[in-house]
């Protein structure tokens, strides 16, 4: 009984999210086309030791789909349900502080719930003495390099939350703006608010298959290149009319070519 208790203790995470910070992300997925800049709302929920970062669409969609109400629904029914939700592109969650001092990058690929762990202090900041007023806060500049891009960040001591968008954190205050020097990924603060009621942190290690970052990347690439095969392996069957599958695969490949500029280049 006792070891069992220990196990369940280590699996569940206690705590709440107290603040919600919204960012607007402008990004350019095709590095050859600077006219094609897209934008998404991103949400950061912060608690005492743990924060969660995701796209707004991902957060909304999961809160709907993960409800108990739908646990018995078939795949087809779930797909229909999903059709109700405005579309979104970034289908990951970044949990900073899980495990302690590290971050968990989590993403579901078809039916695999994958997670890799990275050190939080992989990001080293160089604080500059330049300050300016930004979004109503006194902000200070800092620079860093991460995954093949150089970034310029602006943080504010007025919000003593050492966090920020994506994997960025570790400055003496909230990051309210961060962009890479090519302007391919630009995060701007939209809103800071205290949650009217704290939200319980839901994270269960059991839910995830923990893997290495390189293994995660190869699974993701495999899915992007051959989406139908991955789905078929997972037990989803497709019944296409003649030529449709080929046409869709071709369109998909063309689309992939235009998505050549991920936030992490290496």
């Amino acid at each position: 009984m006792f070891p069992f208790l220990l196990l369940s203790q280590s699996d569940n995470i206690d705590g709440n999210y107290n603040y919600k910070i919204s960012y607007q992300l402008h990004y350019q997925l095709d590095s050859t086309n600077s006219d094609h800049i897209k934008s998404k709302k991103m949400w950061l929920y912060t608690g005492d030791n743990i924060s969660r970062f995701s796209s707004a669409g991902q957060a909304i969609s999961d809160s709907i789909l993960n409800s108990d109400k739908h646990s018995k629904k078939s795949f087809g029914e779930m797909a229909k349900l999903k059709s109700q939700i405005p579309n979104y592109k970034f289908e990951y969650y970044i949990y900073k502080g899980i495990p302690d001092g590290k971050l968990s990058f989590a993403r579901e690929i078809v039916d695999d719930n994958l997670r890799y762990i990275e050190n939080l202090n992989d990001i080293n900041w160089q604080i500059s003495s330049v300050t300016k007023s930004l979004f109503g806060y006194k902000a200070q500049k800092a620079i860093t390099t991460y995954a093949g891009r150089d970034y310029i960040a602006w943080f504010t001591e007025e919000i003593p939350i050492s966090d920020g968008p994506y994997k960025f954190q570790g400055l003496p205050g909230l990051i309210i703006k961060i962009k890479d020097t090519e302007n391919h990924y630009v995060f701007n603060l939209r809103e800071v608010k205290k949650l009217p009621k704290p939200i319980k942190i839901k994270f269960s290690k059991k839910k995830f298959l923990t893997t290495s970052k390189s293994k995660f990347k190869s699974v993701k690439q495999q899915f992007e290149r051959h989406p139908f095969s991955k789905m078929e392996q997972s037990g989803i069957s497709f019944d296409f009319k003649k030529g449709v599958r080929e046409r869709m695969t071709k369109q998909h490949k063309e689309k992939l070519k235009k998505r050549n500029n991920p936030i992490e280049l290496e």
């Binding site: 998404k40 809160s63 059709s83 405005p86 003593p160 003496p172 800071v192």
Partner: protein, 333 residues
């Protein structure tokens, strides 16, 4: 700065006094009960106004450690944590241990909302701010929609975006009316709407999003925060004659309970058929929500003399338990 109220415990331990200009500051940040605070920011500057020289974020149990190269005699330390009073003090520039106890603060964090623009593009979504397009005489949302660049409404009520009929008409992300969106479009008070969103290349089936590129846009109506009830008081009175005279819009929308109860007066017989004319196009997932519809039409037997005998009425009620639940989720996340 009231030192007496801060319950500050600072231990000064002279560790070494070598000639080097590097000082090490270590210590622990705790709350009023002595529990370590993880994630507190410790910032050192030359004085209270100058830029940061060095900083640390407290880790396990509130412990921190930071080094600093400075020839200054004294330094300014500031320790902050959300929900606690800022602790700040000038200290001598030498190796030392700082154990700081923070006290809770009732002062709230400085919250901001960065103002949104008239039309904004977020990814494939175009946001039109309704207030920017609305005039005083505009009563229902279709009046405002007509003025938004790129959006056109044909005489039959069909909404087009850049010359193509829209695929879906969502209200708060829900496709309640399917092709019969005219009902909402011509009855929903413009004042109840905060934003109109155009979802370009919207693919109603999510799984196919990365595979099929839809050329048709969908439209989403974002309601104002809190409650957006238009004509609800009158509705509560049960379609009173007053309402009939005033020709208000008895459409009830709340974020929590997305139900549409609408009627349309008609003395000529034309408007009604238009309002229910179905523009339904390839409906994906018609039954995904447990929606019960009741369309009573016409209501000719009203015992009220004020009602014209041949007035056509539509009463459409949508009860959607799923939607009530959906609305709840939408508000918190």
């Amino acid at each position: 700065m009231h030192l007496s109220t801060l319950c500050v415990i600072i231990g000064f331990f002279l560790i070494s006094s070598s000639g080097s200009a590097q000082s090490t500051f270590s210590g622990k940040v705790t709350n009023q009960n002595g529990q370590g605070l993880n994630g507190a920011t410790i910032v050192i500057s030359k004085d209270s106004l100058s830029a940061i020289l060095s900083y640390a974020i407290s880790k396990n149990e509130g412990a921190f450690n930071l080094q600093l190269n400075s020839v200054a005699d004294s330094l300014f330390v500031k320790i902050s944590y959300v929900g606690y009073k800022i602790w700040e003090q000038t200290i001598p520039n030498k190796n030392q241990q700082l154990n700081v106890r923070l006290l809770p603060s009732s002062e709230e964090l400085k919250e901001v909302v960065v103002e949104s623009k008239i039309i904004e593009k977020h990814g494939d979504t175009l946001d039109y701010s309704v207030s920017a397009f609305k005039d005083q005489k505009d009563r229902v949302i279709s009046d405002v929609l007509k003025k938004m660049p790129g959006i056109e409404i044909s005489s039959s009520g069909l909404i087009e975006y850049q010359g193509k009929a829209i695929q879906k008409y969502y209200i708060e992300g829900l496709d309640l009316l399917e092709g019969r969106y005219n009902l909402a479009n011509e009855n929903l008070a413009a004042d109840a709407v905060s934003k109109v969103q155009i979802l370009e290349n919207h693919q109603p089936i999510k799984l196919l999003d990365s595979l099929v590129f839809s050329e048709r846009a969908s439209l989403n109506i974002k309601l104002k925060k809190d409650v957006t009830v238009s004509g609800s008081a009158e509705l509560g009175a049960g379609l009173s004659p007053l309402l009939w005279k005033a020709k208000l819009t008895p459409m009830l929308f709340t974020k929590k309970n997305q139900a549409i109860v609408t009627y349309q007066a008609n003395n000529t017989g034309n408007n009604v058929s238009r309002a229910i004319s179905d523009f339904s196009i390839a409906d994906f997932g018609r039954e995904q929500f447990d929606i019960k519809k009741m369309i009573g039409f016409p209501f000719a037997n009203w015992q009220n003399p004020l009602f014209h005998r041949n007035a056509g009425w539509i009463i459409m009620c949508i009860w959607a338990r799923s939607i009530i639940w959906f609305g709840l989720k939408m508000t918190w996340i």
